[in-house]
Symmetry: C3
Subunit: 157 residues, 3 copies
């Protein structure tokens, strides 16, 4: 497939990813993953020390869906706004129809009083593949620099 087209599709996918989290459309956010997708959040410290113990590990789209369902029941009201700034993605061919997509991110949170602050910075190291017309995440790895945050209760990164 045309690399320019793939790059545009990957950029689009990263946009949708951030936009659906930021606008709290988490049920639609799940639809950006393949059925067999893996989603992991790992502190950078662990990565650097080769101790890849994830803070969050979902090994399928169904597991991701369960997580969102429990997030919804635990946290009925959204008490802050999220905003992602994601750098231009770097797209590289992998074997077969797989591509890797990497990008740095910063997430800012804003309270209901309108005060914004830095929430998390890190890096996405993803694998994506086309299913029909749609480019989807088959593996999403979030390397999170800022691990001293109550991530387990937060919306996805």
């Amino acid at each position: 497939m045309n690399p320019v087209h793939v790059h545009a599709a990957a950029t689009e996918l990263m946009h949708e990813y951030a936009e659906r989290i930021d606008s709290d459309r988490l049920e639609e956010w799940i639809e950006l993953f393949t059925d067999d997708a893996q989603y992991r959040v790992i502190p950078r410290e662990n990565v650097e020390q080769n101790l890849p113990a994830p803070i969050i590990l979902c090994t399928s789209k169904n597991m991701l869906r369960d997580r969102i369902v429990s997030l919804r029941s635990a946290n009925e009201f959204n008490l802050h706004y999220d905003r992602h700034i994601v750098g231009p993605p770097r797209v590289r061919a992998q074997g077969g129809n797989l591509r890797s997509v990497e990008a740095n991110y910063a997430v800012f949170q804003t309270t209901m009083e309108g005060v914004s602050k830095l929430f998390s910075v890190g890096r996405y190291i993803d694998k994506v593949r086309f299913e029909g017309e749609s480019l989807l995440f088959s593996d999403k790895l979030v390397i999170v620099d800022s691990f001293s945050i109550p991530t387990l209760l937060a919306t996805p990164l």
Copy 2:
């Protein structure tokens, strides 16, 4: 028109937008708008509650120009530096020769003592069109997450 070309032109326009604000060339910044352009800054809270009361509303390029003139007389010395980080823009075709361009932004301000801090995060939801060779904003909507800031006196977002 070639979508790759339009995307490049939109990215270029977003660059110019940020650069002219950051370097305090506001009179040139106005030239990025069509004569009939609308420029609005709306707190995210209002958007989410369907109360689209803008903090700032300019319904033409002339009104925008008036605003800059009064900014200049109110604020003779620039007491800080602005710096925009704008994510890769998302460009989509609208009816006719209109396109929508969307991107998240973070603006940082630095004092004359060289101390930088986060000033504002939010999202641009824009409409652009070609006038001759130039792509210009016909509608610039700034959704501002961080509304607890003295925006009325500040330089444009």
Copy 3:
């Protein structure tokens, strides 16, 4: 050469630049520069006042290498993590095979305790050229808004 290809190569170069600093691979970072490359860090204040006295000035790749060697001996342990967010680069043709590449950046630092904060914002104003297949920096100018930082001891921006 095809502008789309050049733009992709410049985006790739900016990625590598940030990634090699962020992962503390500074010896490999040097390899992104031509032998005759100039590397300068200049406070924005100086630029605005036409006093271009750099904080850091390296006028060749060898000088850059010496700087990294002394950084390594002065600072045996990496006491923080860096993370760059760099906006989409703006690429323009210069004379001959030279191109200018410009982009805004924000660098965040995270302590070993996992606390992240804004470290520096500014702008890259670069010149790049192809040497064989590789696009390299022949001139890297870092305009640093946030100059009240112990830059001399820090990793490169």
